[in-house]
């Protein structure tokens, strides 16, 4: 009974948390970054370096991948998760990740890893926030169930 009460109280706190802040980072910003970065980096590479080396190190695909990586990791930033689930929620969220990895719950792991891709393609960014809340609550349940 007490556990159910705790789950309810913490879930309400996690769900009612507002004011999350996810930097604007998506396919458009990644595409916009390509031209100026290629220009800046190829200018510094200068005349003395073989063109092939420059093309390998500073190309559209590489820069796009780097920008996409930045966007992906923005959604896994602990402070973003804390801002969407509260600090306590972050701790439950971390416990959730620990449990799905140790417990080899691969379908949840796959969802967890693929979710940050959504905001990059401008697909329902808000889902990430609410899924984080859900993960935090599941983590809380894992924690309380474990302590039985």
């Amino acid at each position: 009974m007490i556990k159910l009460f705790l789950i309810l109280i913490f879930s309400i706190i996690i769900i009612s948390k507002t004011g999350w802040d996810l930097p604007i980072c998506n396919i458009e910003t990644a595409t916009l970054a390509i031209t100026p970065r290629i220009f800046a980096e190829q200018t510094i590479d200068g005349q003395n370096q073989p063109v092939l080396v420059t093309r390998i190190l500073h190309n559209k695909a590489g820069i796009f991948a780097q920008e996409a990586g930045r966007c992906y990791f923005n959604t896994l930033d602990p402070n973003f998760i804390a801002s969407s689930t509260t600090l306590l929620g972050l701790i439950f969220w971390l416990y959730f990740v620990y449990r799905i990895l140790i417990g080899r719950i691969w379908h949840l792991t796959a969802i967890f890893l693929l979710l940050p891709v959504l905001p990059f393609f401008n697909l329902a960014s808000l889902i990430v926030v609410y899924t984080n809340k859900l993960f935090a609550i599941i983590g809380l349940i894992f924690l309380l169930v474990k302590s039985k």
């Binding site: 930033d77 804390a82 140790i102």
Partner: protein, 534 residues
Amino acid sequence: MKKYILFLIILLASFLRLYKLGSVPPSLYWDEASLGYNAYSILTTGHDEHGRFLPLTNFAAFGDYKPPGYIYATVPSIAVFGLNEFAIRFPSALFGILTVLLSYFLAKKLFENAVVALLTSFFLAISPWHLQFSRGAFEANLGLFFSTLGIYLFLKFAKDNPRWIFPSALSFVAAIYTFTGQRLFVPFILLLLVIQFRKQLLTHMRIFMFTTVTAAILFWPLFVFATKTIEGQLRFNEVTIFKDLEPINESIRYRGKDNYSWWADLIHNRRFFYAYQYLIHYFDAANPGFLFIRGDVNPRLSIQEVGELYLIDLPLILAGIYFLFSKKQKFRILIIGWLLVAPIGPATARETPHALRMISILPTFQLISAYGFFQFYKFVKFKKFFIVLVFFLLILNFLFYLHMYYLHWPKNYSDQWQYGYKQAVEAIKPFYNDLDYVLVTKSQGRPYIYFLLYLKYDPKNFWPTAQIVKDKFFFLDVNGFDKFRFADNPNEIPITGKVLYVTSPGLLPPDAGKITTIKRLDNLPVFDIGEVAR
């Protein structure tokens, strides 16, 4: 075979840390210059730049009261190589190489596996985080060596011979005397070690007590300085979040909304606001953008194009953490605990995540990723393909890092390293004897130390002529010495005679004849130098 591989790794680590050490980073930033000149001053006079005889707990320097470890370590280097960039950075590079070697022995003690140990040292040898700090005169890097040595010797105490606890304690004391950040790392890592090896400590209580008392005696002078003097607390008070007033204001605002009731005082207590701020800063340490994409926001502490770790490290670290727990590795609590306690101290500061203050987290990431790699290798079916794939991606990451480090970063961020001072000193040298005054702008920060350093100015001549003032933040500022006068705007100093001006671009007095313009590596002007006779 393993010995040869280790030798090759150390050779690689040495090359990466010593190649072009004097010219990349492009110039000495002011702390490096200060460390170098203080070491030179100790070498030639036995006193620091302000004339204090062999300081034990701190060097006043800019009023930041630097710990003494790095300065004393630089004395022999300057004696051998002379007063130059290479000599000032050499101790950091040397102890960086030794940390790579140490990481091998540490990993071997923890995992009892030579392959994991070799991988750990290899990962550290090519780590962007460790390379960045091994190639600059960073006290933090020397501090890292001592704290890692302390941990390794503690392991030797627990596993080999109880006598090792004594040198372990000495290493921890040396770490504290070398880098301020270690003062908030060593107590926590010691606590972890004590918890991990409590049985061995209880068995060898006498030597443990003797070591504790000796270490306490050695630490006492620094403890008194750090806790009982304004100067000792200055730096901490300057950077800590606990001196911010915003959490108090917020607490008052919330309590006001609840009419200052007793329960509002309890719920909206300012300590909760500070605790919240602290935790936000603590969790910043795990910011994936910082770790894997961009690194530290300060271009002096990271090249901005690669994370503090390589992207390929991410799956290896995750696998490492997974296998540490799933295999119930004997020292998993110590390794993960080390990873978790390292950000405790840095989280008290405003700027987080901070690669420099968090450096004591190394080489935990390398230990974990090496273990992850090894266990993954045992786990996968296509072993050769796995090795080729991981090393291909790692080498790709590594080559990109090297290219950016040597070619792009110095040009993009030479201003962050106060580039231009050395060239300015060289430009005024031929005129110096014929001049009455040299007026220098303070726009690039702390010019006096560069003129002392690059002129190899005798400290004995500096002490009687130095015009030192303490600013409102308690920093020490030098307004002049000998023929030099330093000011935000040198044109405002009324002076007659034969004068040489070193000003910001375009700010030479109208009657001055321009001698030269000093440019940064990105070709933007940094100083105009001109001469006038009035």
